[in-house]
Every structure is written in structure tokens, then in C-alpha cells.
Amino acid sequence: MSLINNINKAFDHRIRLGIMSILMVNDHADFKMLKELLEITDGNLASHVKALEKETYISIEKQFIGRKPNTRYAATKLGKAAFKKHIEALEKLLGK
């Protein structure tokens, strides 16, 4: 059962998994980039981003590019560590 314990509930959804995957290999990604890669609606993405932010797995940075507001996201240290653990747990579960 200890293996199952390592499966992180916060990542137990395809879209949150996708967001974290993208932020693992990119220093940061903005809202539009995430939306295009994941092919989902604004509202849907916003709710999943909020969930990850609540766990402090990702950080949000608001800035202006010219006059346009731009929100970009990055994985926190905690988030990266948690995600690595999650992947390891997945691999172990499959490896058996």
C-alpha cells in the first residue's frame, strides 16, 4: 500500500499532470501557451492552475508586456520534487 501513498492526489488529473509536465521542462509558461498545448478552455485551465497554486506547486507571476497584462507560471521547488516523486511512483506501479 505504501506505493499507492506516493501517488499524489494533486496530480491525479490529466490536465494538472500536463501543466506540471510543461513546467518541468520550461522555466516558465504563460497562460496562452498552456492553453494551446493542453487544448482546453480558459475557465478549465484557470481552475486547475488554482488547484496547483493552492498546494504551492506552482508560482504565479503577473507582469506587463507593453500594455498587455501577462500571467506566467513556474514550478516551485516543492512542486518539482513532488512531481518527481509522483512519476517515480507511477513507474514503480507499472514496473511490477
Binding site: 499532470l17 500536463g18 509536465s21 521542462v25 520550461n26 494551446e36 493542453l38 507499472l94
Partner: protein, 207 residues
Amino acid sequence: MESNKYLEDISEIKNMMSRSSRFISLSGLSGVLAGVYALVGAFLAYQVLSDYSGSSLVSGTMRSDASVVQQLFLIAIGVMLCAIVSGIFLTMKKSKKSGEKMWDVSSKRLVFNFLVPLLTGGAFCLVLIQYEIAWLVAPATLIFYGLACINASKYTLGDVRYMGIAFVILGLVNTQLIGYGLYFWALGFGVFHIFYGALMYFKYDRK
């Protein structure tokens, strides 16, 4: 049943990681075509050059240097335009098939990282011409093109890296064999493009 879901999770993770960091729709076939254009261009350039030296020796109706340079310049521009146009066209076709956006963050990043060393090299070659060190232009173009490929390879199919390394080596060898620039160009931009383009075509495009 559970493990099926985890398997899908893993494949989603892999997919998102490579999609978000690499532009994978680069067409191998466009590399092959670029190589073919380069070989045709090199052949035409060879004709122009041998006509030039031939006519000046035999009939004395020597054409001006300027017209030869102009012709070579036109050939170079023609080859480049053909390669870029067919490259964009084929990549567009492939990206439609794979569902990847043609002009998104990853392709922009790819183009940017490719252009930085390439434009630096271009400017450097102009400086070489300015100081009349023209014999180093051919090796310099090969070396900088190779560096551009190595730099860009982090953001697209990894095979581009090996082509870049091959170009850099070819350029360095060329520095020791001055006067054969055209042959080295034909080997690099022609043969290497065809070889690596075909390799990538069979590896990725035919799926």
C-alpha cells in the same frame, strides 16, 4: 484497469514535455530538397566560374568581375529562397498532420536560437569580405551554420545536432584546403542536407 490509466498518464507526461520544449514537426524531406537545390546551385556556380576563367583565357572577351559576382549572388539567393519556401511548406504540412501549431512558442524559440549564431556568422562573413579575407568566407559559413544547427537542436529533433557537428568539422577542414570552398559547400549544404534529411525522413516523417 488501474495500470492502464497510469500508462496513459506516463505517455501524457512524455508528450507534454517534448511538445512544450521541442518543435517536432520539422520536415526531413525539406532537408533533402534543400540539399538538392544546393547541389544544383553549386553546379550552376561552377559553370559560371569556369565560363569566366575559360572566356578570359581563350577568347579574351572577359566579362567584368562584377557580373560574375552578381551571378553567383543571384544563384545563392535563389537556392536560399527555394530551400526556405519548400521548408516552410513541408513543415506546415507535417505540423497539420501532427496537430502541432506551426507558429507557437516552440517554433519561435527554435527559429530564434537558430538565427542568433547564423546572423552572427553572416555579419562576420561581411566583415571578412570588408577586409578582403574572402577565402575564409566559405569555411566561416559552414562553421557558423553548424553552430546554428547545434544551438537549435535543443529545441527540435535531436538529430539536427549531429548534422551541426558535421558542418563544423567540415568547415574547420576547409580552412586548411583553401580554394576548394565550392566543393566543401556542395558537400555540406548539398550532401549533408540530403543525408541527414533522408535520415530524419525515414525516422520520423513516414510514421
